[in-house]
């Protein structure tokens, strides 16, 4: 086992030495410098150009959009919550009368209460002795 470990370690050391012997080509640093300079300058220009284009586009589009907005049919657009909250039910134009006005209202006089005419025999119906015969007749219309 020890021999195996030694062999593996020796092998790894040898490989490590070979690996460490790999060097970047001499031109690489110059190439990187050139690439960084080119990329850096280009990226800045790209940002400025994009920003300017965006500002111009917004400045050109915004008035057009604002002009077109009324042309849109009212049914298509939904009212916002703030608009809905601002809405109030229409109040009646008639002014509510004050309490003093209510008290001063004069009501028309009521007609006199109707009085029953006194019966020739008795004023009380239950004491009347005269009963119509028609009430005593048997009614059989319910059995027809």
């Amino acid at each position: 086992m020890m021999v195996q470990d030694t062999i593996v370690n020796r092998e790894l050391d040898q490989l490590k030495r070979g690996y460490r012997d790999i060097h970047a080509p001499a031109y690489l640093a110059t190439r990187i410098r050139t690439a960084v300079a080119g990329r850096g300058a280009r990226s800045h220009r790209w940002i400025w150009v994009t920003a300017a284009a965006a500002i111009v586009a917004v400045a050109w589009l915004l008035p057009n959009l604002l002009q077109r907005q009324p042309a849109v049919s009212p049914g298509a657009s939904r009212p916002s919550f703030s608009t809905l909250a601002a809405l109030r039910p229409a109040t009646p134009a008639v002014k509510t009368p004050g309490l003093s006005q209510l008290r001063s209202v004069t009501m028309p006089a009521m007609s006199p209460r109707p009085q029953l005419k006194p019966h020739p025999e008795s004023t009380k119906p239950q004491t009347r002795l005269h009963i119509d015969d028609a009430y005593l007749e048997e009614k059989d219309h319910a059995h027809v």
Binding site: V3, Q4, D5, I7, V8, E11, L12, L15, K16, G18, Y19, R20, D21, I22, H23, A24, P25, Y27, L28, A29, R31, I32, R33, A35, V36, R39, G40, S43
Partner: protein, 182 residues
């Protein structure tokens, strides 16, 4: 200014404070390490140089926002890994005939780089992905356990366990290869 005396963090701090020469020092200090990692992951030197360039270009904007939660090279390592992954993904869709050939490096240097990278690649290729990463960082890049954990985004205990398994696997591979060196 003597850049060699400065620590990695100091270089980044100077770069952040608006010292453009500090970035050149960062490139010179880390370019070999980034290039090596890319060589192992990408199979050819030209692609490794392209990746190293892209890593430092990203580093130019990324290190300005560096918050020193880890070592600067940990950040560069992660970027290298991401760029290599993107590069491999793009390359998978391209035909191999279109790969550029590097003619600027000397043939000897090219062969040495190629051999070194190939042997490391062959060694780690037998391991699972996470173990490959641990071996690359801990053994070949001499990262501490803590730095390795930060670079891999895991706990230190996980790094130790992965390294243990990786070394065990390498020993088994060595056995299977039938080495007879006594």
């Amino acid at each position: 200014m003597n850049w060699d005396d400065k620590s990695d963090a100091d270089l980044v701090r100077l770069f952040k404070s608006g010292e453009p020469a500090a970035f050149d020092a960062i490139v010179l200090r880390f370019q070999d390490r980034v290039f090596r990692l890319a060589c192992v992951w990408l199979y050819d030197e030209q692609s490794a140089a392209d990746v190293a360039q892209e890593v430092f270009v990203r580093g130019y904007s990324g290190l300005r926002l560096f918050r020193f939660r880890s070592a600067p090279f940990t950040w560069l390592y992660r970027t290298t890994k991401n760029v290599c992954r993107e590069f491999n993904r793009v390359r998978r869709t391209e035909p191999l005939d279109h790969e550029p050939v590097d003619t600027s490096a000397t043939p000897e240097r090219h062969v040495a780089n190629y051999q070194g990278a190939r042997r490391v690649r062959e060694l780690v290729a037998t391991l699972p992905k996470r173990q490959q990463e641990v071996v690359m960082l801990r053994i070949f890049e001499d990262f501490s356990v803590r730095e390795t954990a930060q670079a891999m985004g895991c706990r230190e205990g996980t790094v130790k366990a992965l390294l243990h398994k990786a070394v065990k696997q390498l020993k088994l591979n060595n056995d299977g290869a039938g080495y007879d060196r006594e």
